[in-house]
């Protein structure tokens, strides 16, 4: 039964990540991404997968998909039908799955975040429907695989899992919401394992949408720069295998890090603009810390939402200042969107994995495109590859519609559990 829920009696469980998969324009897999984020590599290049000649901006964080997908339980015929978004998701999930050592299961919830599912197929459908309305060729497949539940079902079949599928579409906070929801299921004993993450592929509609809003940077995405002029769009996916600490310890799994806290709130200020003082962001940072049992003084690094738009970054900076108070000048902050762009529904999940990488490696990913820090940022902005000993990281995700989410992660060392 989904309701009433069966809770495991006793205190809430600790939640750990035992597998992480990631695909961004920096590459496919933990290693190229960890190296890229650590060095502050910028992987924004001209868009090749659709026509941008008439767009104001012509670059994005486009992923170079590998020539073949990993072997899974998915029949070849189904693999051939996977769209770009489903491939990104499958690549990330397969890496996390393999790393975790999990086996197929009849009772494994899947919680995903996305903003547009298989939008490129929807576009193809529309294009054919208006140019060749009487041709049904491939239209049924497109209309089916365009839907987000199709990508989730493909993943479930690929890995042999049967459990409820929850797809959260809270705009650019979707990935963080998905991880947060999974964390909530685990800590309260609703499940022992949850496969979770976020994904989104580049599509012409979304690219043109951000361009129409003049939200895309015509120069270079420079989060928290005084002269920032917009974001870069990216694509990718990140998936985590989350489980209760007890479950992980029972099977002697390698723990990558701990998800310590999560909070979500709604900013009712405007459909696309944050409250100037970041009220909802302040609420999620405060509540996530409360859930995690930590104070701002214990947060060693903030992976900011930091899109590079004037309004987002100033609101987020204001929220960080209000949340951290006197501690603000001592909490390093960076935005990894400078390197890979804004991955929309995947962003929160990717940035949670970046935090895991940073906590494990004890380094901070720089915002290497930053030139002149905005004076509002009284906190130290990480501009160069940096080594640091720290225990807790906080990552923010904000989206259209006022969707705000914060996740807090903790470094894991064998023996401390």
């Amino acid at each position: 039964m989904l309701f009433p829920p069966k809770y495991r009696p006793g205190p809430t469980s600790r939640v750990v990540a035992t597998g992480a998969g990631i695909v961004t324009s920096l590459g496919a897999g933990w290693k190229p991404n960890a190296e890229g984020f650590r060095a502050g590599r910028v992987a924004i290049q001209p868009v090749t997968i659709f026509d941008v000649t008439r767009q104001r901006v012509k670059v994005a964080g486009e992923v170079a998909l590998p020539p073949a997908l990993p072997e899974t339980l998915l029949p070849t015929r189904r693999v051939r039908r996977l769209d770009r978004a489903a491939k990104l998701l499958l690549l990330a999930a397969h890496e996390a799955w393999r790393q975790s050592g999990w086996a197929s299961s009849d009772d494994l919830p899947l919680v995903l975040g996305t903003t547009s599912g298989g939008m490129s197929l929807g576009q193809d459908y529309y294009h054919q429907a208006i140019t060749r309305p009487h041709s049904p060729r491939r239209q049924a497949t497109r209309s089916l695989h365009y839907q987000a539940q199709r990508q989730a079902l493909d993943l479930a079949d690929a890995l042999g899992v049967r459990g409820p599928i929850t797809i959260i579409a809270n705009a650019c906070a979707s990935g963080a919401n998905a991880i947060g929801h999974a964390w909530d299921l685990l800590r309260r004993g609703r499940a022992e394992r949850v496969l979770t993450g976020g994904y989104d592929a580049l599509s012409q509609l979304v690219f043109a949408g951000f361009d129409s809003l003049q939200a895309l940077s015509p120069t270079r995405c420079r989060p928290f720069d005084a002269h920032r002029d917009g974001l870069a769009i990216g694509e990718g996916a990140a998936v985590l295998t989350l489980e209760t600490l007890e479950h992980a310890q029972r099977r002697h799994a390698t723990v990558l890090g701990e998800i310590l806290g999560y909070a979500a709130a709604t900013d009712a200020h405007h459909l696309t603009q944050p409250h100037p003082q970041g009220d909802a962001a302040l609420a999620t940072m405060t509540d996530a810390c409360r859930n995690a049992g930590v104070t701002p003084a214990q947060i060693g690094y903030i992976n900011a939402h930091g899109t590079g738009t004037p309004l987002n970054d100033s609101a987020e900076a204001a929220a960080i200042l209000r949340w951290a108070g006197e501690r603000a000048p001592r909490i390093p902050v960076s935005s990894t969107k400078s390197g890979i762009g804004h991955l929309l529904g995947a962003a929160g999940a990717v940035e949670a994995v970046v935090c895991l990488m940073a906590l494990r490696g004890q380094w901070l990913p720089p915002t290497s495109t930053l030139e002149s820090p905005d004076p509002i940022c009284v906190f130290p902005l990480v501009r160069q590859p940096t080594a640091l000993t720290f225990e807790h990281a906080l990552t923010n995700s904000f989206g259209f519609g006022g969707a705000n989410a914060t996740i807090i992660l903790r470094r894991w060392e064998p023996g401390i559990g």
Binding site: M1, Q123, A129, Q139, I168, G209, S212, L271, A403
Partner: protein, 355 residues
Amino acid sequence: MSAAENIFIRGIGAVSPAGWGVLPLREALAKGEPWPTRELDRSGWARPFRVRRVPPPLPRPGFMSHPRLRRASPITQYAVAAALEALGGDVAGVKCGSFRLGVVLCVMTGCVNYSRRFYDETLKDPASASPLVFPETVFNAPASHIAALLGTNAINYTLVGDTGTFLQGLALGADWMLNDRVDGCLVVGAEEMDWLTADAYRLFARKVVLSEGAGAVYLRAESPAHPAVQLHSVTQSHLFLLEQDRARAARQMRTELHAGRPEHLLCDATQGLQNVDGAELEAWRDWPGTKLSPKWILGEGLAAASAWQCVAAIDTLRQRQHPEAIVSVVGCNQQAIGARFVISNPKSQNSNPSE
């Protein structure tokens, strides 16, 4: 505030081809005749689709002049109208912040009107694609507008999936209350009509009659002063997978629910199309009670239709027509899922199901 133990239905709301409100929905279902269809033009085809549209509201609701809603697409208007009807007198309490209201919006195709329009503009000339339209294409735009209108900043999720997702939304909202995340939760299912959706659907079910609208269920944990409808249970989501077809998923869902009695109601998702209904009809072949199939009357409203099923089931319980109701949704392409509603016993403040 302490966590809840039971979840009650405080309010319901609906917008359907039958009109704006639960009352026209109730009357249309009581009449039992398929609602009249209308023609919907279809790009490149001489022959239009037959669909069921939501009629214009008369009079025009005041909320439509709210700054956030002036440019909103029909799905938002339907979702907001259903939400406000469900909240009833509690709107004022939400607006003054006297309790935390969560929102769960469930959609399958979502904001398809503006998505098609914006993409069409993009193909013609990206430089002239409207920046006012694009934000309304995002799945969570309607949920955001509901929150803005009510001034609530509590947790707000938009769930995407097939028609069964509305029942997942009910379980999620109820769980938030059990977990003390919110004091009340609006669960809304909404869809809007577009020729593109109708065009895609005909590839799978040529005779389907698509419709649009919204349904809303307002959940609260407080014990009612009088007998009230209680959300008793929501089954597991039984997925359609390589190793589990629709028929098996439907049977699995059925086994989790009450066997039923002659006085009970089954509100199912069948719509009179054998290739679509077969698995669900088979799963409920031995149902001993009354059956109500809103889609036969109102059409395939996707996420809105499963919300209408729940609203209709709750409404019959409120009208004392049945002591208990089951809602069954064998979805389009994801899951079979069911829910059970009962009339609570005010003295014990617990459900008083007959099993």
